[in-house]
Symmetry: C2
Subunit: 232 residues, 2 copies
DNA sequence: TTCGGTTTGTAACATTTGATACATTTACAA
DNA sequence: TTGTAAATGTATCAAATGTTACAAACCGAA
């Protein structure tokens, strides 16, 4: 029996660590939520939470678990955008604006618990508490910035450039070994390329002395040439 | 002699048509602006207004003229993002959030006049008037939605798909001829492909009876097959 | 009209990537 | 240890696009 529609309690100690409620005390948050209507739903692993194109008229906040956001192009293929974990909110940038539709399809990585606040109720929250308003403005702006970064990443033409950009970003200032968080196949998916192509590019870069690969561990050998890759 | 630093008057009749000040009367707007500090600057054609990466600590609103937003990848090439005309605001989504830097380089298409409001002063406006707040939330959200759309567009793999998507969007419901706003080269730039490749794709689609091209005018002949292109 | 610069059409070739297949290695559990 | 499934490395071929070059068509000014 599905629990999807069953209502659970919010956990204010967790929610107040959410970007939107940061700085609010658990007690204060409980008091605020006492003044509005909301739902708490649970989803099983792999269950769909939102479908790209669906109307977005409520704010979703993950209270427990982790979800996966994917964008599906017209060909039916999906490009993984990101993983989102508790206590982060979903679809913050699509509550307002002209086209109130989810741009991505979201599915549960694990069993998740999601707090659902209808838009009018959330507007009440924004009016009740200026800290929440400020947090929301920051969240929504960071969202746009994230999308902007994604756009920049997709502007890299070659796989080598994508690899170079990714590794340099992961490595930061260090010249150390980078560990790919998940599998090579998932990295390829994130890059929007096929796995063999990614492996080939990694192999070539390895042969040329740019990097050293050992399965999930990649060591940057020549940071200068990596940077030049991005500029040519 | 450059006029860049010279201060002009705001034109409240124009500004109140801006998405951010929609619904505010010119008089009310003048009153609101009387309570904050701001600047009005002019830029000559082709003059740089912001550079990608520069700190964004003020809201910019175009009062007169038109600007061009471009994103430059590491290779020095630029991808044109969009044209923005008076009385639209610039960089609305980058005033708040973590990384307060302009994601794009903006330059003047024509001689432009720009109202510059420092962030703290703009926050005052948001607190003074709830209509402005609501407008701003809508604007910033629409911005994220626009970026999301761009992302989706870039997810099209083949040039044919990009052409199909572009033409179908331009044509809307009609089956009529679409006129490319600018040159074919600029369209190629927007697609992130080279001009000969775009011309070749157009030529092939023309040969196959999908479209009929006459320089800047493109007639959609087979809408069904065009739609199928996006799904295969 | 004629000229010169810009835009567009087209071709040949090089490069990159996708698709597919298969061998190898690894991880994990029986 | 051994067996099995998943992840990875590699190869081959096809498809798509970039690169470069040049000719043709267009446009505006003299």
């Amino acid at each position: 029996m599905l629990q999807t529609e069953e209502t659970f309690m919010i956990q204010s100690e967790i929610l107040c660590q959410s970007p939107i409620f940061r700085g609010i005390s658990p007690d204060e948050l409980l008091h605020l939520f006492g003044q509005i209507h909301y739902q708490v739903k649970t989803y099983q692993k792999n269950e769909l939470i939102t479908i790209g194109g669906e109307i977005c008229d409520r704010l979703l906040i993950i209270q427990r678990g982790s979800v996966k956001a994917e964008m599906n192009d017209y060909s039916g293929k999906t490009i993984k955008i990101e993983d989102i974990e508790a206590p982060r909110p979903l679809a913050t940038a699509f509550l307002f604006g002209k086209e109130n539709r989810f741009p991505v399809t979201v599915s549960a990585n694990t069993e998740v618990e999601i707090v659902s606040v209808p838009k009018p109720e959330f507007v009440k929250l924004l009016q009740l508490n200026s800290l929440i308003l400020n947090n929301y403005l920051n969240t929504i702006s960071s969202r746009a910035q994230f999308l902007s970064q994604k756009l920049k990443f997709l502007s890299f033409k070659t796989i080598r450039q994508k690899i170079a950009h990714y590794l340099l970003e992961m490595a930061g200032d260090r010249l150390h070994t980078v560990e790919i968080p998940q599998s090579q196949g998932q990295l390829a998916e994130m890059f929007g390329v096929t796995r063999p192509s990614l492996a080939r590019a990694l192999g070539e870069m390895s042969q040329e002395g740019l990097i050293e690969t050992d399965r999930r561990y990649i060591k940057i050998l020549d940071k200068n040439r990596m940077n030049q890759l991005l500029k040519s």
